[in-house]
């Protein structure tokens, strides 16, 4: 089980059969595409769930045609029950956080491009890599299966707070089998992430080609490396937490169930545990997790912006240092999710301070992007637009983080739509924009064909404006004390807010429909797009030194030698204003000439 050596790499020849080539493939590029496909399925499932929820929030008594097909008990006569709303919300959160935001920017792009960017033929443990995808796939199947068994998926929210998650069916539909399936799925997901992180870190440290010193790694490679360091340690804490939760459900233990707990008029037989313990274990994972979702996006956005503004960031090293600082600090701030949980109030201060400190590297990163953009002649294309969109989302969502970081304000805003708006902008949509930027940028290399730029730009503007229309009003709702996780707004003070909710619902549906432009563009370009040249963006890193799409062993049996820092733009050379990393040409910078 723990014998790593049994799975070590031996040089694998190109596979022949269909199954080895496309399904149980050991090739990191195929595995990367598989992760991308999984994330694509998951994101559309999650999006449809959010549509159903939004429709219900805007028009509570609206019958949603066909909903009873999904759940007879959850939607009798196509009318959603309160419990079913919470079940859909839980699944939306879980699917999006784990199977989209963690999977796409990190596992999908990282698998495809990290080995190429360091100049390797593959990752050092291809079998682990294949297992990592298929375990993740299994986790997704287990999670989705909870829609169809028992009384549906769990309704506990993606945070699955104890004790309601730990006492079984008495606490509501899906709280028995649904929670067990949820926890099993997440524990499996942790295994997949662990295997992935082992491969990512060893690839980065051990498989770099000659000349590729650590400081010559592109920022994407650094972002994936830092993310995998976080994933290695964070998921290793979530996994035992999930196992303890399963034990509480099936083995009669009471890790997370306090004494004398009465639920639905029934005294629970368990006793002695702590509800707060679950929150500590969960958020010790949960906070690094949000950076696991966003740091790869920072890398991708830097990579895309640098290529399109034809100049490196103000400082490569500071950027790397800031991402590293965020990774370290991410473990010290997790308690800011628990200001009102009943923790010792003094610990709020201890968690508030590093939370404000972590905004410093985040702010430096943003200033670095903006400072580098200032005065540059940015090439406007779908990828660079989405990269700018990422910066915009990250700033807009990040600003509300300053409010939430302070316990005195958080007491008011906790569990309101303000928080929902905050994390959707700063982490969810920003990371999704990072995925889009990466897709438009790397699609030519991944498939050998170009995507349609016009459709990409239309997709950007609809998504960008739409996202602001959806999530900016969330902040307003939160300040108006609109509590999150309510399935209907019947209280006097909430009823005047319903029109805002209707506006958000309409915006969400339009923005969601706009995503089908992307889906069409993706599928159409995959088969009928213009054939892509090897280096369509005139970029410098190693992935653009390979043929398009890259051959099985990435560099056609040769190993590139790296001569330069990753971002040699704005220089005078034989090819134009850039020198590729693998080009032995001398670099003459414009500044030197002046």
């Amino acid at each position: 089980m723990h014998d790593m050596s049994a799975h070590a790499v031996s040089h694998h020849a190109p596979p022949q059969g269909f199954i080895r080539k496309h399904i149980f493939s050991l090739d990191h590029k195929v595995i990367g595409k598989q992760y991308y496909g999984l994330a694509l399925v998951a994101v559309f499932v999650g999006m449809v769930l959010s549509w159903i929820m939004r429709l219900h929030l805007g028009w509570t008594n609206l019958a949603i045609p066909g909903l009873h097909l999904l759940s007879k008990n959850g939607a009798p006569g196509n009318l959603m029950t309160p419990e079913y709303y919470l079940q859909l919300m839980t699944m939306h959160g879980t699917i999006m956080v784990f199977f989209v935001l963690t999977t796409a920017p990190f596992a999908a792009f990282g698998n495809f491009f990290l080995p190429i960017q360091v100049g390797a033929e593959d990752m050092p443990f291809p079998r682990f890599n294949m297992m990592s995808f298929w375990v993740t796939f299994l986790a997704f199947v287990v999670l989705i299966s909870s829609f169809f068994v028992g009384d549906g998926p769990t309704l506990g929210g993606w945070t699955q707070y104890a004790p309601l998650s730990a006492v079984g069916a008495v606490s509501g539909p899906g709280q028995g089998l649904g929670v067990i399936l949820w926890a099993t799925s997440i524990a499996l997901f942790c295994v997949g992430q662990l295997l992935g992180a082992l491969n990512f870190i060893t690839t980065t440290l051990d498989l770099r080609v000659k000349g590729m010193s650590l400081m010559r790694l592109p920022l994407t490679a650094w972002a994936w490396f830092i993310t995998s360091c976080m994933g290695l340690t964070a998921f290793a804490v979530l996994m035992p937490a999930c196992i303890l939760l399963i034990l509480d459900q099936v083995a009669g233990t009471s890790f997370f169930v306090p004494s004398n707990l009465v639920i639905n008029d029934q005294l629970q037989p368990h006793s002695g545990g702590s509800t707060l313990l679950w929150q500590h274990l969960f958020w010790f994972f949960g906070h690094p997790e949000v950076y696991i979702a966003i740091v790869p996006g920072m890398g991708i956005v830097s990579h895309v912006l640098i290529t399109n503004m034809r100049r490196p960031l103000l400082s490569h090293r500071v950027m790397i240092g800031c991402m590293g600082a965020i990774a370290v600090l991410s473990y010290m701030v997790y308690g800011h999710h628990m200001f009102v949980s009943g923790m010792n109030p003094f610990s709020s201060l201890a968690f508030s301070f590093p939370t404000l400190v972590i905004t410093i590297p985040a702010t430096i990163i943003v200033l670095m992007w903006i400072g580098s953009l200032y005065g540059s002649k940015l090439r406007i294309n779908a990828a660079s637009l989405f990269a700018l969109g990422f910066v915009s989302m990250f700033v807009s969502g990040g600003v509300s983080g300053f409010f939430l970081a302070q316990p005195s304000i958080d007491i008011m805003l906790h569990a309101t739509y303000f928080v929902v708006g905050h994390f959707h902008m700063v982490m969810a949509v920003a990371a999704i924009f990072g995925i889009f930027a990466g897709t438009y940028f790397w699609f030519p290399k991944m498939t050998g064909r170009m995507m349609n730029e016009t459709l990409g730009k239309v997709h950007f503007w609809l998504s960008f404006v739409g996202t602001y229309c959806i999530f900016m009003p969330f902040h307003y709702l939160g300040i108006a004390a609109n509590v999150r996780r309510y399935q209907a707004f019947v209280d006097d003070y909430l009823q005047p807010l319903i029109p805002v909710h209707r506006f958000i619902t309409v915006a969400a549906i339009i923005t969601g429909v706009a995503q089908f432009i992307f889906l069409y563009n993706l599928i159409h370009s995959r088969f009928l797009g213009k054939l892509a040249p090897d280096n369509p963006w005139e970029a410098t890193s190693l992935e653009w030194s390979t043929p398009t799409p890259p051959p099985f062993d990435n560099f056609g049996g040769k190993h590139p030698v790296v001569y330069h820092d990753p971002y040699q733009y704005g220089v005078t050379s034989s090819t134009g204003d850039y020198v590729m990393q693998a080009s032995p040409e001398q670099v003459v910078s414009e500044h030197d000439e002046k």
């Binding site: 723990h2 049994a6 390797a120 190993h559």
Partner: protein
Amino acid sequence: MGQADLTMEGHSPGLMTGPPFAIPTKKLAMWLFIIADTMTFSACLVAYGFLRNATPDWPRPFHGMVNVALMTFILLTSSLTMFLGVRAAKAGDKAGALRWTMITALAGIGFAFLHIREWLGLISEGMTLFKNPWGTGLFGSAFFSVTGLHITHVIAGVIALIVVGMRYKGGRYNADDIEIVGLYWHFVDLVWMFVVPFVYLLNLAH
């Protein structure tokens, strides 16, 4: 350590700059796994400490420490035999390396035997995952989870030692692989050094 150890099989030697810390990839992966596993054990031990602190009637049922001392002695000794095995392998003494590796596996089996016997004794006294005669049921939950996680690691380690030893004998694995499985074994031993004070000594009867 030869040059061949520094490069991955299948990657043409000479083109690589060599791993920065002169640590072969498989060994690095084991270190990374150990880091992750440390987090897993820490989470379990912290959870145990958290619950123990929060519970006023935490039982202290252990009367003697003969058994746990014997288990600890066996496991510590097995780290020594593992070390001797790795040293023999590095010196090219194949027979010696195999012998010490198998002695280590035997020690692991002895440890597991004593541990399971102790479990059965506690179970026969009425201790289960969720109740026991001495106090809060959480004691059994915590005890069986923490020691259960550890003994799973010991059993997996015994299997790994035997598999690696056999493949080393057959020539598929080299001295490095013995060292890598040794790293894991020392880690399991080290974790036990945390389990003993926290789970056993703190719960000794007054």
